[in-house]
């Protein structure tokens, strides 16, 4: 599904990613771990096409398509969803309008007509339940005045609405208490199908307890230095990252 080949990327002239190779197949959940500054968020931002990053070398293929040639919204239409580490507040734009615009843009890309207003609101209601999101949130502006937990739940809610094929969760667990984490993780699990995949960026095992990754990667200084099964995450939880560095 996703194939990253020798990816180099930089921001403000500083190289952060120094040759990433990563393949994610249908139905797989990959965990991406590593210390701060290793390049985890950079990788997720480059996949979705953040304008601040420049790809200097390498390729990203998504179902065979050259992702780097697409604009961020086109990548979204292809089915890539990023749950942001710090979702931005957009005052004055209501969640309803925002989601309608997003969903209908996708439908247009797929050659479908816009969704009827009634159907859309029904869909909103259904999907909201998945993450136990308050009815009132829908009428509020995007992320404005949301607590940290509400913002993350709102991200998963949007994921539910847009039904992506590849989800990237960028430290979705940060700033969440145990209950909120459970709600978010269970919401995510409900959305999983054999056709969807995910990349989960985290520092901690506790999110992975819920999400059960198939593969765990360790990112260090812009490269994937170790790839293994779920037990790697448990080992990191116990021993930290230094032993990996020493082994290199």
């Amino acid at each position: 599904m996703l194939e990253i080949i020798d990816l180099h990327a930089s921001i403000n002239g500083k190289e952060i990613l120094k040759g990433i190779n990563l393949t994610v197949r249908e139905g797989e959940v990959h965990a991406l771990m590593g210390q701060n500054g290793a390049g985890k968020s950079t990788l997720s931002n480059v996949i979705v096409g953040h304008p601040s990053y420049t790809v200097t070398q390498g390729q990203i293929l998504f179902n065979g398509k050259d992702l780097l040639a697409l604009s961020p919204d086109e990548r979204a239409h292809e089915g890539i969803f990023l749950s942001f580490q710090q979702p931005v507040e957009i005052p004055g734009v209501s969640m309803v309008n925002f989601m309608r615009a997003a969903l209908n843009a996708r439908r247009k890309y797929q050659g479908l007509d816009p969704m009827a207003a009634g159907d859309f609101l029904k869909l909103m209601r259904e999907k909201r339940k998945i993450v136990e999101l308050d009815n009132k949130l829908a009428s509020r502006s995007v992320n404005e005045g949301f607590s940290g937990g509400e913002k993350k739940r709102n991200e998963i809610f949007q994921m539910a609405m847009l039904e992506p094929r590849l989800s990237i969760l960028d430290e979705t667990d940060s700033g969440l208490d145990v209950d909120a984490l459970r709600v978010v993780a269970e919401g995510f699990n409900k959305l999983r199908t054999p056709e969807t995949s995910a990349i989960v960026i985290t520092h901690y095992q506790r999110l992975l307890d819920y999400l059960k990754p198939d593969v765990v990667h360790v990112l260090m200084n812009g490269r994937i230095v170790r790839t293994d099964g779920p037990q790697l995450a448990l080992e990191i939880e116990k021993r930290g990252f230094d032993w990996i560095r020493e082994e290199l």
Partner: protein, 447 residues
């Protein structure tokens, strides 16, 4: 000074003609206004309040004036159909500066409420008009007000007697209609007595593709515990010049909500002076401007806190595209007696192109110590982080920009207290941003 000379000559030659087609209460102030105008001339950009609009050059073209009050045939209903859904208003028309008495709303206004020709009212109710006319709009310190007072022959009177609450909003459509380039000097008098309330919506339209220049001087008296909502929407065209001077006086515990929305126009200059004369009064003043091409929009606001315990809240937002220029100057004056004043003033602007230019000048002038005042002003562009977030959700960059611009000015529209009107304006603004003609459906006025 040359352009002012032709109006000085005009008045000298036509004073008796002007008087003949107006009312004594209005004629009474002309001589003094003329002297003021001779002394002041048109404001220059050296004057602090006219820094950003070169008024004299606006008067340089040759305009006709209808001093002889020749009837201009027009059936406003032929031209205008306002279809704000769910908004049922009492609809009146003013063509140039003439109140259309042939086309009145079917539903009648509450007992004692007057909406009609100022000139006729000045004859029928001389004491009411004399008591108010020219009392707020001093011709001694503003050349435009002087010119208007000297030349205005008619306009509109809105009168709400003591204790009367006018439930249904009153909508007044100003239609500019002429076969030649035309100057209109319109005068509006609004009197809302104690415990009375009214919501007024003024819509400016130009029916002909001619140059129009309108000076409009509005005086609004808001009595104790009274409430006035005054919404002014301008949707004219690039050849139109609007010079509006609005003077509002608020008595104790009164409330005013005023919004000036400029969607289409050539040159727009709104001067708004509001004075608090009684305690515990409040005002919400807003404006939103969507300007493109060579449009010029200048809002100049003075809030004069003369007494204590009043609160003012000012919010103006501009979105400037192409080579449009915008100016906002808001002066909040808190006099020594005005203790416990609260005042918030905000002006936020987006310049969408390199050629667009924004001047902003939020001023606080404070002589009392027990006050809470703040102002803020920003000029910038659309938030990149928000744009990217929306793109990640599959919304195209262009669409995301539209949504954000729309949300940006939406904040001003949401301060209005007529929900159907809010919806309508949201719709109009969205259309305006999409580059479609920002006009009401079914309206054939805006070409």
């Amino acid at each position: 000074m040359q352009s002012s000379q032709q109006y000085i000559d005009l008045f000298r030659q036509s004073a008796s003609l002007i008087d003949r087609h107006s009312a004594p209460a209005m004629n009474a102030l002309r001589a003094a206004a003329f002297d003021d105008f001779v002394r002041l001339g048109f404001p220059t950009t050296k004057e602090e309040r006219y820094k950003y609009t070169d008024v004299a050059s606006l008067f340089a073209p040759d305009y006709g004036l209808n001093l002889g009050r020749i009837d201009i045939p027009v059936n406003p209903y032929d031209a205008f159909r306002c279809d704000v859904p769910n908004l049922s208003t009492s609809l009146f028309f003013v063509v140039n500066d003439v109140f259309c008495s042939r086309f009145l709303p079917k539903a009648s206004l509450p007992e004692g409420v007057l909406v009609g020709s100022l000139c006729e009212a000045a004859v029928r109710y001389p004491s009411l008009v004399e008591r108010c006319y020219g009392h707020l709009a001093s011709s001694g310190e503003d050349g435009i007000t002087a010119l208007n007072t000297m030349l205005a022959q008619d306009g509109l009177l809105v009168y709400v007697p003591k204790g009367v609450q006018v439930e249904r909003p009153v909508q007044v459509v100003n239609i500019l209609r002429a076969d030649v380039d035309l100057m209109v000097n319109r005068r509006v008098l609004i009197v809302v007595e104690e415990d009375a309330a009214i919501k007024l919506l003024f819509c400016d339209h130009a029916a002909d593709d001619r140059r129009f220049l309108t000076t409009q001087v509005t005086e609004a008296f808001v009595g104790e515990r009274a409430s006035l909502d005054l919404y002014c929407l301008e949707e004219t065209h690039a050849k139109n010049t609007r010079l509006s001077n609005l003077y509002i006086r608020q008595e104790a515990s009164s409330h005013v909500c005023h919004n000036a929305i400029t969607l289409m126009g050539g040159t727009t200059r709104n001067r708004t002076d509001l004075v608090f004369c009684g305690e515990n009064a409040s005002c919400d003043m807003g404006g939103c401007v969507v300007a493109d091409h060579t449009q010029h929009v200048d809002n100049n606001v003075l809030i004069d806190h003369r007494v204590g315990r009043c609160s003012s809240n000012v919010l103006y937002k501009y979105v400037l595209d192409h080579e449009a220029t915008g100016a906002f100057a808001g002066r909040v004056l808190v006099r020594p007696e005005a203790q416990q004043t609260t005042s918030v003033e905000r002006n936020q602007n987006i310049c969408a192109t390199r050629q667009a230019r924004m001047y902003t000048q939020p001023m606080l002038e404070i002589y009392a110590d027990d006050v809470k005042c703040s102002h803020g002003s920003t000029v910038g562009q659309i938030d990149e982080a928000a744009l990217f977030y929306m793109q990640q959700r599959g919304i195209s960059r262009q669409e995301a920009q539209l949504l954000l611009k729309f949300a940006f000015v939406g904040e001003v529209i949401d301060t209005m207290k007529l929900e159907p009107l809010q919806d309508r304006l949201h719709h109009l603004v969205e259309k305006r941003f999409r580059g479609e003609l920002g006009r009401c459906e079914g309206c054939r006025l805006c070409k």
